[in-house]
């Protein structure tokens, strides 16, 4: 195994780290929100469906991480096909995954904090449910922007002839 073969390694590293970190962030985030939601349900089980929706909001970053990992893996050929890419290209793939690796977990955790606060809001004033969804959704915007750049970068890199 020579250095020249490490291209696919770097690319795969980027892919799995995106799934890994975003997954960790979402797992923690959904957990935090879940505790708050369970607390509300002990008092009033009727709010279950509302707080469940709020609990799930920080979960999307994990999905985005999965999405990035999957797209990268199909592009570099580990899901079948030719997995022979240059070190340079591998590093480019790694760089392309970076936004989700960093922004994913950070936004998931902060979104979870907003979700916890929104759950408290719904528990006191159920009629504000529509508004309460928006606060966590605001945080998610940045995960979506990171996802967008990731996707564009991955497809951009794959069309480079290097």
């Amino acid at each position: 195994m020579s250095i020249a073969n490490l291209g696919v390694f770097f690319a795969l590293l980027g892919a799995v780290l995106a799934a890994l970190f975003a997954g960790i962030g979402s797992a923690k985030g959904v957990g935090m929100a879940g505790q708050a939601a369970a607390g509300v349900c002990t008092d009033d089980p009727g709010k279950f469906s509302k707080v469940l929706i709020l609990q799930l909001l920080p979960g999307t970053q994990g999905i985005y991480g999965l999405l990035i990992a999957f797209i990268t893996m199909t592009q570099i050929g580990v899901m079948g096909g030719d997995a022979n890419i240059s070190v340079y290209k591998g590093l480019l793939y790694f760089a392309a995954c970076l936004p989700m690796i960093v922004v994913g977990p950070v936004s998931a955790l902060n979104q979870a904090k907003a979700a916890v606060a929104s759950i408290a809001m719904v528990s006191k004033r159920p009629e504000t449910f529509g508004k309460s969804m928006i606060f966590p959704a605001m945080v998610e915007t940045y995960a979506i922007l990171a996802l967008l750049i990731d996707i564009l970068a991955i497809f951009g890199v794959s069309s480079l002839a290097i």
Binding site: T60, L66, F129, G130, I144, I151, L152
Partner: protein
Amino acid sequence: MAVLPMKRVTIMALKKDRKGVLEFLQREGAVQIECKMPEDDVFRKQDTSTAKTLFQKNAQVAEDALAVLDIFAPGNKGLLASLNGRKELTVEEYNAFVLRRDEMMDAGRKILALDKELAEIRGQIPKMIDQQTALEPWLSYDLPMSLTETKKTAVITGTLPNEQTPETIYTQLGEYAPDAEKVSVDIISSSQEQTCIFLICSKKDQPAIQDALRRMSFAKPPISDMNPKEAYDELTRKKDELRKRESQILEELAGYGDKREDLEFASDYFTMRAEKYEIISTLDQSRRTFLLEGYVPAKKAEHLKEALTRQYDLAVEFNEPAEDEDVPVLLENNAFAAPVEGVVESFSLPGKGEMDPSFLVALFYYALFGLMLSDAGYGIIMAVACGILLLKFKKMENGLKKSLQMFFFCGIGTTIAGFLYGSFFGDAVNVIASNFFGRDDIKLAPLWFEPISEPMRMLVFCFLIAIIHMFVGLGAKAYMYLKNGQWKDAIYDVLFWYMFVGGLVLYLLSVPMITGMMQLSFIIPASAQTPILVVILIGVIGIVLTAGRESKSWFKRILKGLYGVYGVSSWLSDILSYSRLLALGLATGVIAQVFNKMGSMLGGGIVGIIVFVLVFLIGQTLNIGINALGAYVHTNRLTFVEFFGKFYEGGGRKFEPFAVNTKYYKFKEDVDL
């Protein structure tokens, strides 16, 4: 698509008709009663809080009793039963129920009493078990435990820590109380934790012995007048009695299962009456008359007047609400837009002078939702499921019905988007064909294009939708200005922005670098750049001059105007925000593909097919759940933040008429409440 116009209604009637008039209004549910007249010498408010509290208490008893029944005599409510809506009662049924209201309340109180007794019993039994456990080591002791002396001797019973033999006890006693003469120790029982002893000594030695025992960490036994065996058996007997009573109560409670309907009725009945008395306390009443004020939708006004004057001697008067009055808001829309009224309401109802945005919201809501979920399979499932429920349960409550209608339309949007993108449970068609039939060539061709293979094209499409969506929002603002006669504001706040933002977009489309990056097939000719720049310039100058027009000083005004131009940055971020259409759309497709791939890993053959079906069912169910939720949340976000941000503030108060607000029953016309 409109906010229903309201009228102020004033009704002056005789006090003897008060019950009749109020009950009529409650049944009609068309008037929101709000009496604003101050009290004076003639008209006074009546204090009804005693009656109201009594009714509320009764309703609460019925509700609590129902909660108890839910635990001990659960009705066989199906999962879909709640879709059936409230039961409908005829006049005869209603009257029959009313006659039995005292009996109902008795049943309710009895249920609560039983529940309380049950809780007490369930608290006592563990206590008795504890007492018995404490007595167990003493069972072989056949004297009453309260025995402390005979004529000449002192009797001491109790426990010492750890397992001890008579020898160790005598040794210690000898050490701590060397002067004691005659001591006899019997061990009643011993275990690792404690040793129960029975000790006899002469009375004069008692203090010394007791002191010695204290130093050996002696503890007193559970005291009882009876001997331990008797006490133990007594406890067993009592416990059995309680157990018997417990099962008796459970049986009794289960027997109350058929009272559920009665209690539900009682809860509704007393809630209704409490509401009526609440209203009575707000009325202005003189000795023989009373005065009622409120709001009524204009289109119901005539019917109301006609019905009231036909039955009673009274005066009804309608007025246009004053300009500055906070009139409650009721929306009315066609079948296409009405389902999103709930979305509008959860943001805020239209404020003073604002239009009802429901139709515009609906126009984009279903499309945005569809683009985010974007899978024909999921869309069909959603639309069909909602459609069936709507057809099957015609009597369901209004709010639920609207939600289902909304998701029905969202499902249609999703189906269309799915076929445009060629996504049917992800790439299920292709996976099944190639895996089980060996036909790689079969797949569902997109009617338009596949976002996953052309993400840039999809992104440009998202931006296009963003601009249309927000320009429509801005147009709505102009519409509201024009409707209120503020045509200048419409130019300043809308037209200039159209010129500025629209011009910028067109200008970008004439730059080859941008169109190349976006992979557009067309470009606006460079010759058009100059006129476009002129338009942009007019827009910018207009905004600089007018954005701060409420300031008197020109210096301040220009500064504010410059800040207003800076608002273009928010347009940029708003447009970028629509990239979530791409992100969420891709997420649905890719996750579905992942599951399809996982399912097909074992290839063809029986085992392969079974695994595929299992993975497919679980995976796709999961995916539809997660992504429908995401699509719902983010459609709301785009509506609330990006779309409403352009024109809609809300702040209206909901129209809440005095009506029959029941939980379990509804009543046909003419019921005498």
